[in-house]
């Protein structure tokens, strides 16, 4: 009796497609996320928790901006630059946006070449991604310096509602930290790819587990998330 049930593993519910598959996967009394490695599933769940952190930051910014009786500083003017004698609004932030999107593009292609086991192209694209990320952090450093020189502090600024500085430093600072950690993470994984760790399945120094090219995709999930958060910050903090 038990023999027959065990001998037909093909009947495992992991293959039901569509909406019925959701119920089948969660009710399967096994792992809920079929065909997804634990590393990838855990990265997604970490990103979900990070989503809530950034949601709370943006929500507190919304609350501060909606409840203040003092006019909010106009971000279009605050982040304007004089380039070639012309006054261009928000140009620095626009360039930063394009840089981060480009880094996401190179990262997506790095994942693709990783699964094709193209060691050199994967490592090169990851290093390009890291370079874009470092450029982004550098421009953010320039932006912070400029605003601090103009007298923006977490408790006040020359243009309006004092909460502007607190929101700005908190949100962009936390995002910049994520980018910085991502750059370090990228360089570490790119070094392993370059060395061929994932071709010979060399064991990691800390986990002693065999390495696979999947780590490039997991790393990519984190990096795309950083880009994703910037999409929301750009819309709500800089453009609104």
């Amino acid at each position: 009796m038990t023999e027959t049930t065990l001998a037909t593993p093909k009947a495992s519910p992991g293959t039901i497609p569509g909406l019925r598959g959701i119920a089948a996967d969660w009710a399967s009394d096994q792992r809920a996320f079929k065909h997804v490695s634990w590393g990838k599933a855990m990265m997604w769940i970490f990103l979900l928790s990070d989503t809530f952190i950034f949601s709370c930051f943006l929500l507190s910014y919304m609350t501060a901006r909606m409840s203040t009786t003092v006019p909010w500083p106009n971000p279009s003017e605050v982040f304007a630059l004089n380039l070639g004698g012309k006054h261009i609004p928000l140009i620095l932030i626009a360039i930063m946006t394009f840089i981060l999107i480009s880094s996401s593009g190179t990262m997506a292609m790095a994942v693709n070449f990783g699964y094709r086991r193209d060691r050199v192209k994967t490592a090169a694209l990851m290093l390009a991604t890291a370079a874009f990320g470092a450029t982004f952090v550098g421009m953010q450093g320039f932006e912070w310096t400029k605003l601090i020189m103009e007298g923006v502090r977490p408790w006040g600024n020359p243009w309006g509602a004092p909460q502007f500085g607190a929101c700005f430093f908190m949100i962009t600072g936390f995002h910049g930290t994520h980018v910085t950690i991502g750059v370090i993470f990228l360089i570490a994984v790119a070094r392993k790819v370059w060395r061929g760790d994932f071709d010979v399945e060399r064991r990691g120094f800390f986990t002693s587990r065999r390495g696979y090219y999947e780590i490039v995709e997991i790393m990519g999930l984190y990096w795309h998330f950083v880009d994703l958060v910037w999409v929301f910050i750009f819309a709500f903090f800089y453009l609104w």
Partner: protein
């Protein structure tokens, strides 16, 4: 006699288990090779992200104001976020059990947004009534 039969049955069970585990590992391995999409797809999405970012920048550049500004910003934001999650993060090819587990909870943040809109309206009202005239 019964002992031997049990033994045989146990062996058969173990064999079936092996086959099952092997099957699972094999399907996992094919999946690892499975996220293969043409490079062109990523380049097209990249291009669209550039276009959408330019559009949202132009909203500010041309100084569009009011409801049109806010709806355009939200539209471009949602399109960009959707492209990144669906294609770059491969969510479009994951099973729905994972997609719903990850994508539904953030939607519930909208409830929190609603609560805080009421709360900040109330705070604003109190500030206007009791503090704003003093300054």
């Amino acid at each position: 006699m019964t002992n031997a039969a049990l033994h045989v049955e146990g062996q058969a069970t173990q064999h079936a288990l092996h086959a099952f585990v092997h099957d699972a590992v094999a399907s996992g391995a094919t999946h690892a090779k499975g996220q293969q999409h043409p490079i062109k797809l990523y380049l097209v999405v990249w291009g669209w992200l550039f276009v959408l970012s330019t559009c949202s920048y132009l909203v500010d550049f041309f100084g569009i104001h009011g409801h049109l500004r806010w709806s355009l910003i939200l539209l471009f934001m949602v399109l960009k976020a959707g492209l990144i999650v669906a294609v770059f993060m491969h969510m479009a090819w994951e099973r729905l059990a994972l997609a719903y587990a990850i994508l539904l909870p953030p939607v519930l943040v909208l409830v929190f947004v609603g609560i805080m809109v009421f709360e900040s309206d109330y705070t604003h009202l109190l500030r206007v009534m009791f503090f704003a005239s003093a300054s």
